[in-house]
Symmetry: C2
Amino acid sequence: MSDETEKTGKTGEAPSRRAFLKGAALAGGAAMVPASVRAEPDPLITEVQPWAQFLGEGVDARPYGTPSPHEAHVRRRHVEWLTADPISSVNFTPLHELDGIITPNGLCFERHHAGIAEIDPGDYRLMINGLVDNPLVFTLQDLMRFPRENHVYFLECAANSGMEWRGAQLNGCQFTHGMVHNVMYTGVPLRLLLQEAGVQTSGAWVLPEGADASAMTRSVPLEKALDDCLVAFKMNGEMLRPEQGYPVRLVVPGWEGNMWVKWLRRIEIGDQPWHHREETSKYTDLFSDGRARRFTWEMDAKSVITNPSPQAPITHGPGPTVVTGLAWSGRGTIPRVDVSLDGGMNWVQARMSGPSLDKSLHRFYHEFDWDGRPLLLQSRAHDSTGYVQPTKDQLREVRGVNSIYHNNGIQTWAVDETGVTENVEVS
Amino acid sequence: MSDETEKTGKTGEAPSRRAFLKGAALAGGAAMVPASVRAEPDPLITEVQPWAQFLGEGVDARPYGTPSPHEAHVRRRHVEWLTADPISSVNFTPLHELDGIITPNGLCFERHHAGIAEIDPGDYRLMINGLVDNPLVFTLQDLMRFPRENHVYFLECAANSGMEWRGAQLNGCQFTHGMVHNVMYTGVPLRLLLQEAGVQTSGAWVLPEGADASAMTRSVPLEKALDDCLVAFKMNGEMLRPEQGYPVRLVVPGWEGNMWVKWLRRIEIGDQPWHHREETSKYTDLFSDGRARRFTWEMDAKSVITNPSPQAPITHGPGPTVVTGLAWSGRGTIPRVDVSLDGGMNWVQARMSGPSLDKSLHRFYHEFDWDGRPLLLQSRAHDSTGYVQPTKDQLREVRGVNSIYHNNGIQTWAVDETGVTENVEVS
């Protein structure tokens, strides 16, 4: 159901809000009745409040704005026991505090292997070498003289939800699913730079390399490099943030995050993959029989309910309730998401709202009249190839429980009578 | 021309980049040759740099990220002589530093009439009263129990470019055109709240009122309120910034910015417009004969070249050069933008890149091989209704030069042989 059909009232599924509020008024005590149906005057609206009596800060106060102090709880979080050191670690996007599909730059999760490289943009260089006719070195200004494109893409770490392989672990979608963000990138198609260098006929793979102390490298097939990869310098309009690769990163749409090399310093062209550290000992999927799946680049279709969720329980009691979440696929768009309130026994089609863009997050909603009984919330994404997000048990049947990466199983949140929400497993 | 056609090489218009660089190499001295064609090894790429030798900051350093210190010049700016006090004033979005179509929240221009109201979200209330069956008071949580939508919309102050009526004034697109921003809003359709209150049959207008000390009010026709207005609480995913109306503002897509009432506290339903201060003494368009045009709500199609521009001159010398800018219309989308290099004598169709969304900024590009001769850069937007952006002189013929508002005339930048760029008038 699109916003358009909703606008014209032909929703079919969205219950009348007036019915909701009347239902809520009947359902319980004062605490459970939305204030919108209160009969008494509210002093917060009838009495003149301080903010209406005094002048506030002017336009010279904040040349670069920051969130309200009341939103200080909206932040990236890391899990101390997860890694030996915060230098080679991860923090997580607070998905439960966000809405829409754009992640603000300050809240995009971070994953570093050697901390944040601090590079003066005047000292930035990008080299293209290997099997090319003309090895090239570009300054940042050189890159900005090539034609640019703008695309919104999700970036998901291959290890997102990785700790859930052996059962429900972390209590909050920030921790189970927060290694994903979605921004608009501006950059030069890698294809144009490779054309400039002149890839030799034996060239079949490219090796992007990071300028930080970890010198991150991954083997990328030339076909992907020529298709939709971007050498990007802006995110959501402004220059990349330091932790996202300032001043230049590679964008590899739909593919696992560690291939999106940050602080990009070099792109080598070769005739076969390099089998470097980050594509052998890491970022391969260990099966039960000891064999490992390699080169699992594409991120499968996935979804998660962001509200309610363990960090964002239902606090308003029974009555009208909004369920919302995110869905994405490395293979295209998300035409449909289903929501279950009973652990997967019954499903209803969610309402999508916001632009449906290729390899981008999609936002879904399901509004319902909660009767106060416990819920087992699930969401299930369908992508534009027809693929349907599997259950965790279906994944485990094929891949066992030794893997860290590419867990796109259906997530379950249990909501109790008081609204408290927890990460659980159902089978 | 779409990105798709560009990708397959069928661009028709984008010159070969290799031809560009060869041309540049022939055109001038070393300073004008892009570094990408340098033959000698560059020590910045061949020698190990400090950022590759030492570990950087970890994931615990910045729970809410900020731009690189090297980007400190990218900021909102106000003009001290423009207003008596920064409390009732404006600052401007640095359009010349941005790309794509999303404005980061920290750089969205500000316009306040009594400074930034500081409201604790727990104390927030929205009242709907007047010609309704059920006067209602909503808390923030109440609002979040209604169905939400997500839309990217531009917000432009009616006074944007207002100082240009009498000729070229301010040297920089930040100052001439920087009272516009473009973010993704999440909010409840106003229609749903009005349905809840039950608008009486005599109701024809709504009066949104701000909670700040200026108590901003504007008359909005009920038809618009029921069409696409949003009661919004999020921008680019996170809660509204304080200066943008935290926690709740009205979104009035395509209409002038001061109707998008911030810190929204009340919506009254009436049977005729109120003719309040901000729609009589201000935000009306004074004609030469002393009459004033009122209720000029819709923002006409407009465009501006953001690079090069006076604050962002050409510093790389002749050769491959990227011209880019923004276009928008309060009446729909922008299917086409034309660019002129010679003050409007000849026009070429620009390349659009990025999502084309209703009542949203659109990004255009024109790449060309600059021969080093002076340029008179212009852009001209065509919107989806067929309307074509007029020249400033065409506007003055109809409206005179007494107006402040709704100047959507074609902007001209003069680029000299050294790349220095200035705001000029051509006729």
